[in-house]
């Protein structure tokens, strides 16, 4: 077994990986940008400044802000509650929090239709109160929250578990208030994990398709998010438009990947300093 043989194997395997990733991951990205710009920059800009495109972007941002905001509050509370205290039913709660990850997006949409749709007992009350959830903006927001539900708590929980409860106990015994403990003791530890969770949550919230598709009702300019608008354009054979709107989401994905590397690096560096 010579060194030469190792080198051949090494570079063969690296080449296989590089070709696989290039065809499966990079080529589609290049393709999106190339197709979006094939009719020139003017057509690209026109597709993006279309009224419905702008409305779709607006709704996507709105749903994303709701999902990220609420899931951040939830994620921090759930992580605090699960890692700092012992109580009965902890396992059930963790399982339920992670459940949205294993459910198909279509089924996620379906359960909300069953909850708030016409055959639900809630429907009469909601109708009397003048609230529409299904085929309206609240439905889109609910679906987005559901599919991104565990994203932030999942990132924080392992960090808090590894850190233990000693520091918080010491702070509490010295008389610190809840929010002081959180701000001064806990938060510095989870800072990067929390940010990473927010980044992941944002990416998924902006891109959710299946669940939102079930609940939105596809009203152009009203309940169409960016991915749904892309579907509409694509099925209407407006490929330049579809790929132009897609290119915005590609930019978002690239930013997410870059941020991920940075946050992971910062988190690692800090946990090494702690030791």
């Amino acid at each position: 077994m010579g060194r030469k043989n190792d080198g051949v194997l090494k570079w063969t395997l690296i080449a296989i990986c590089a070709i696989f990733l290039f065809i499966m991951l990079i080529l589609p990205l290049i393709y999106i940008v190339a197709t979006a710009l094939r009719e020139g920059f003017g057509a690209y800009a026109a597709a993006l400044s279309d009224e419905y495109a702008r409305k779709a972007v607006g709704l996507t941002i709105k749903a994303t802000l709701w999902a990220v905001g609420l899931n951040t509050v939830f994620g921090i509370c759930a992580a605090w509650c699960i890692t700092k205290f012992n109580f009965k039913g902890k396992k059930i709660i963790s399982t339920l929090i992670d459940l949205p990850l294993t459910v198909s997006p279509i089924i996620a949409g379906l359960i909300f239709v069953l909850t708030f749709g016409r055959q639900s007992f809630l429907y009469d009350y909601l109708k009397a109160a003048g609230i529409s959830i299904i085929f309206a903006v609240p439905g889109v927001i609910l679906a987005t929250i559901f599919v991104t539900f565990p994203y932030i708590s999942r990132e924080i929980i392992p960090v808090l578990n590894a850190q233990g409860t000693d520091e918080e106990e010491a702070a509490a015994l010295m008389g610190a208030k809840t929010f002081t403990i959180f701000r001064k003791v806990t938060f510095p530890h989870i800072k990067w994990a929390l940010l990473y969770g927010v980044v992941l949550c944002t990416a998924r919230a902006m891109g959710e398709f299946g669940a939102v598709s079930v609940l939105s009702g596809h009203l152009r300019g009203k309940t169409n998010t960016m991915p749904l608008y892309i579907e509409l354009l694509y099925q209407g054979y407006d490929f330049t438009g579809a790929f132009a709107v897609s290119s915005l989401l590609v930019i978002m994905a690239v930013i997410v990947l870059a941020l991920r590397s940075i946050l992971e690096y910062k988190g690692k560096k800090e946990s090494e300093q702690d030791r």
Partner: protein, 279 residues
């Protein structure tokens, strides 16, 4: 007991964090799930069975299952090679490759779907090449498989990578000193160690592929009996406001997902017992 409990809770904020957690969990997960259970209870078994055993539904199970299986097997092999390359070798662009793995999580599925479809139709960059040999990709099961391979790439890599990083080089060295060949060292020493992680990555990818909708719906062509996946069937029942049929098919899918995750859990606990015995 009451006193002891108070003692263990030195840290404040239990009431507040527990309250918010339970309130949001109920609103977003528990109540919708309960409505699924309530609605299911109203279905008659005969009706349920007739819906889920219609020939068109049965063939959609097969399309979903076979494409998800092939895609996850491809990902298991490629994921193993990728994890190996990323852990064991140094080469220019390694960090870039490592970051790229996560792209399927970051890129919206609908965007991936239209891009892969447009690339593989007979006029596209890749589809045009294969069309010369008379092989269609888009709107066939091969197309669905490609979309699912895209979706599943990160799962196996990310579950095998950390285990491979932790393996001690000592065992390999010992095996080599004892005269094992490289291939034999890999299969006898390294592979058993990473096997549980490989299985868990495979099952996660498989479960995800079964439920995938966004990226597949464009490339599938959605011909009944041939390229119609189960999630799409649920979607079309929903669009016809046939909630009973949609729920029935969804229950079969949920059941399948639970079986897959259960098998994984059993395999994992058996593997950890085996390792425990050796140690």
């Amino acid at each position: 007991m009451a006193i002891k409990r108070k003692k263990t809770r030195v840290i404040p904020g239990f009431g507040l964090s527990f309250g918010i957690t339970i309130a949001m969990l109920s609103l977003i997960v528990i109540i919708p799930l309960c409505s699924l259970v309530v609605f299911t209870a109203q279905l008659s078994f005969k009706e349920f069975w007739e819906t889920v055993s219609r020939p068109r539904v049965l063939s959609s199970y097969w399309v979903s299952f076979s494409t998800a299986l092939v895609a996850s097997l491809i990902n298991a092999v490629m994921g193993l090679i990728l994890a190996w390359v990323l852990v064991r070798y140094d080469f220019p662009g390694k960090r870039f490759m490592d970051g790229l793995i996560e792209l399927p999580f970051a890129l919206p599925t609908a965007v991936a779907g239209i891009s892969l479809t447009h690339m593989t139709v007979s006029t596209g960059w890749v589809g045009g090449f294969f069309a010369k040999f008379g092989i269609p990709i888009a709107y066939t099961k091969a197309g669905i498989t490609i979309a699912l391979v895209f979706i599943g790439i990160p799962f196996v890599v990310r579950s095998v990578q950390p285990v491979l990083e932790k393996i001690d080089y000592q065992y390999e060295e010992a095996a080599q000193i004892l005269g094992f060949s490289h291939a034999r060292t890999f299969w006898k020493v390294i592979f058993p160690e990473i096997f549980p992680a490989l299985i868990s990555g495979f099952t996660l990818a498989f479960a995800r592929c079964l439920g995938e909708y966004g990226s597949v719906v464009f490339i599938a062509g959605n011909t009944p009996y041939e390229t119609e996946i189960t999630p799409l069937l649920i979607m079309s029942e929903l669009q016809e406001y046939d909630y009973a049929s949609a729920t029935s098919i969804a229950l079969i899918m949920l059941f399948a997902a639970f079986v897959i995750l259960f098998i994984n859990a059993v395999l994992q606990s058996r593997a950890s017992k085996k390792i425990g015995k050796i140690a």
